[in-house]
């Protein structure tokens, strides 16, 4: 008898805990004192149920390495000039190499010392000489390449998280996946284009001088002056939607980048009532900006964002104080988003969208509604069948079924798992599977009764024998669910989770829970015949 009391206590405790976890999901709002003590997590709905966007981005980590090699080549040139080392060419080669060609007669020793001292991340390769010119290939160290790639992914994650936070999405989920992928989940997002622009933009801001000594047309025709590069500026008129394209010839050397920004915000031009983006540089940036504007008064300074020339105003005067503006024909939203991406910084490497799944909110609601309807109809069919087929025992099984559903939902809430549409299907499926255990037990009991055993003996043997079979049969489904969870993603994982919870819950209620009711009826109430 004591044993029975304990078992009842276990079931009551399990159900009570489950209800505690379910309460936040069921009620609209809970008092503060409650959430302080008890769990307050609601069941998390997947994007396919609440609507939203799922993006898988691939970080072009090669590009980050390339950029670094490019930057190092530039630094080497600067250092050569400073140390008065004569050279013909310093150029990035491939992804992670720099080809250095020295001028004829330039001795090797000082060059080598400079590399050793200032560029420890580079391996100096074998020298070759053509005539009296020395040529050498510098290679980024493999460890450094790995580090750069990882950094590109980590910083990319941070930057994108920053942008999304400023964009204002509730409960975004951003994480790395594999080596160079970022998974971004944005629930309830309506303007997908804007979100994609915001996330996908590299936002590399560069200031370069316009080359006004040479003709753009000649450069386009093929006579590109050394140290120059052709850029384009594409503009969309926000009012008419007309696209215009201008070609610029810029000096390739970048004088200043967005790296030195401390702030970027939208202001309104009082004269034309047009939005523009105001930039503030940090001290270093401010000094660089002051020097470059001072040295190039009268020239045009191009503001380049992701290789697109935004504008190229004439420098009228030296600009101190570290403030600049980006003007253009922005809509208010565009200006806001530009400010956000500039504030949160450039991505260290461009990202490419390799998977996108967007579900509208109405489809999500529709899925929930249809899921609930099928659950109600399927569940009712099973419940009624059990009552008709097994009479009072069927009612016990139905009770167990209701507890099962409570346990599955509570499990989702407690483990902060996500309920997806396949997950809902999983719950519906487990409603059908959950009574399997009871069917096996009841059939066995009937069989034992037919052999002439007393109800009590029949119940004991029935539970005993059937339990092993139930365990054996369920293990295979659990194996399938675990494998699915391991290899599946998103929605499928949701299915695997509910399937697993469903099976575990049904084993608990069928083998442990319903036995208590039978024992209670047979032992305490001294019931003589079984309604089965």
């Amino acid at each position: 008898m004591k044993d029975l009391r304990w078992r009842i206590l276990v079931v009551v405790a399990v159900v009570a805990v489950a209800l505690l976890y379910l309460l936040p999901t069921l009620s609209k709002e809970l008092p503060r004192w409650w959430t302080n003590v008890f769990p307050s997590e609601k069941i998390h709905l997947g994007l396919d149920l609440q609507g939203g966007m799922h993006l898988l981005l691939e970080v072009q980590t090669d590009k980050a390495v390339e950029n670094t090699a490019e930057r190092l080549a530039q630094e080497i040139k600067d250092d050569f000039r400073e140390a008065q080392i004569r050279f013909r060419q310093v150029e990035r080669q491939g992804e992670d190499q720099i080809l250095v060609t020295l001028a004829s007669g330039q001795p090797w020793e000082p060059v080598n010392n400079l590399f050793k001292e200032k560029f420890p991340t580079l391996d100096v390769g074998t020298r070759s000489s053509a005539g009296d010119q020395i040529q050498v290939v510098l290679q980024l160290k493999p460890a450094q390449v790995q580090h750069l790639k990882k950094l590109a992914v980590d910083q990319g994650l941070e930057t994108i998280r920053n942008r999304i936070d400023q964009f204002g999405v509730t409960e975004p989920d951003i994480m790395t996946q594999g080596e160079n992928r970022l998974l971004v989940q944005l629930p309830g997002i309506a303007d997908t284009q804007r979100a994609i622009d915001l996330i996908g933009k590299t936002a590399l801001l560069e200031f370069k001088l316009v080359d006004e000594q040479h003709s753009v047309d000649e450069a386009v025709a093929g006579k590109l002056p050394p140290g120059d590069k052709i850029y384009h500026g594409t503009k969309v008129d926000p009012a008419t939607g007309k696209v215009s394209r201008t070609t610029y010839l810029l000096k390739d050397r970048t004088l200043l980048t967005g790296e030195y920004l401390t702030n970027a915000e939208v202001r309104i031009d009082s004269q034309y009532n047009r939005p523009y983006v105001a930039l503030s540089f940090n001290d270093t940036g401010a000094r660089m900006f002051e020097r470059l504007t001072g040295e190039h008064v009268g020239e045009r300074l191009a503001i380049v964002l992701d290789d697109n020339v935004h504008s190229a105003p004439v420098i009228k005067d030296r600009i101190g104080g570290g403030n600049a503006v980006i003007e253009g024909q922005f809509t208010m939203d565009e200006a806001k988003d530009l400010a956000v991406v500039l504030r949160s910084g450039a991505l260290p490497a461009p990202v490419k969208i390799i998977e996108q799944r967007t579900v509208g909110p109405s489809l999500g609601r529709d899925s929930i509604r249809k899921g609930l309807i099928s659950m109600a109809v399927g569940g009712l069919a099973v419940v009624l069948f059990m009552m008709v087929y097994y009479k009072a025992s069927g009612v016990i099984a139905d009770l167990a079924l209701i507890i099962d559903i409570v346990l599955i939902m509570a499990g989702l809430a407690a483990l902060r798992a996500t309920l997806t549409l396949p997950g809902v299907a999983g719950i519906i499926l487990t409603i059908g599977m959950a009574v399997d255990a009871n069917v096996l037990i009841f059939e066995r009991i009937r069989e034992e009764l037919r052999l002439g055993k007393t109800p009590r003996a029949a119940v004991d043997t029935g539970f005993d024998r059937a339990s092993i079979t139930i365990l054996d049969a369920n293990v295979t489904t659990i194996i399938a669910a675990v494998v699915l969870w391991q290899f599946g993603s998103g929605p499928i994982r949701g299915f695997a989770t509910t399937l697993m919870f469903g099976i575990l819950a049904s084993m608990f209620t069928a083998i442990f829970g319903t036995k208590i009711v039978f024992d209670y009826l047979l032992q305490k109430r001294r019931v003589k015949t079984l309604s089965i």
Partner: protein, 362 residues
Amino acid sequence: MELIRPDINIDFVGKRKYAYLLSLTLIILSLIGLVWRGDSLYGIDFVGGTVVQVSFAQPTDAGKIREGLTEIGLERSAIQRFGAEGENNYLIRTDLSGPEHGNLHDRVRESLERVYGKGGVTVERVEMVGPKVGQDLRQNALLAVFYATLFIAVYISGRFELKWLPPAIMIGALILGVYTLRVLGMHIPMLILSALLITTALCWVLKLKYALGAVVATIHDVIITAGAIALTGKEFDLTVVAAILTITGYSLNDTIIVFDRIRENVRKGRRRDFAELVNSSINQTLSRTLLTSGTTLATVLALFFLGGAVIHNFAYTLMVGILVGTYSSALVASPVLVEWETRFGKIQVMPAKKQGNRQGRK
């Protein structure tokens, strides 16, 4: 209430030849279907591409939608109705994927709005999968089916034969075999099939007769379920693979119920003829086999008819799988066990002696 009388005695084992014929026909049909469909079997999850689900305020047809898509160069997409007729939902599928097609959402809406007017079109869902991701997903699906089959086979042989070494050998051989085939660049369905066939052969060689029956039944169920998808013009996507995996686990439930009973009857050691023992075991468990499958089928049917178009293929796969799984537990798995036993087994000769060896528990 009773649907099946307790003293029922259908001669399943005796009539197994007919079942073999039926199963073989279904398998051949399925394989023809799978081969015939070829690459069109795969949804965008596995080959990459883009699917846009659009709902219209008014009834429309594919031709008019196609017209509306001409402007953005998508007029050659596959367009089909999705879900119930009254819902006016259509799926537009193209092979395109990649960043430049990343935001079809707005482009499709704007392009269609020119034909249907503002508010006449709602883009419900966009799924874009890049080719590389498709390949990864395909690989994962393959590995999932492979590992599920492997672990289940190992569990069954371990549990029913109380032998753990042969399954361990099996794991090694199977991994080796599948790895070799993968290096050779074999197609996924073929690869899964080969893994299953290797498993069967290994069960045979290693004399794991219960596992053999279970694995043969699983292969049978998976092929016919996959065939049912191919023959009805549906596609393999992530949810369908999930359903097939669930079936590999669930269809064994019934098989295990029968096997458990066979083992129990063998332990009792009363009967002499193994075929007869198996047949009466099937009959003794027939009622519960049908009931358990029946309740599960009832909920899956609810999902199939009421769950909506997104989950339709998933429910369909489960439905076919449960039906086939129930049939195979009585008419495939157990007869295979009989075939093996009548050729190589010793149970019917020395039941009493075997008893000691086979007492795994209690």
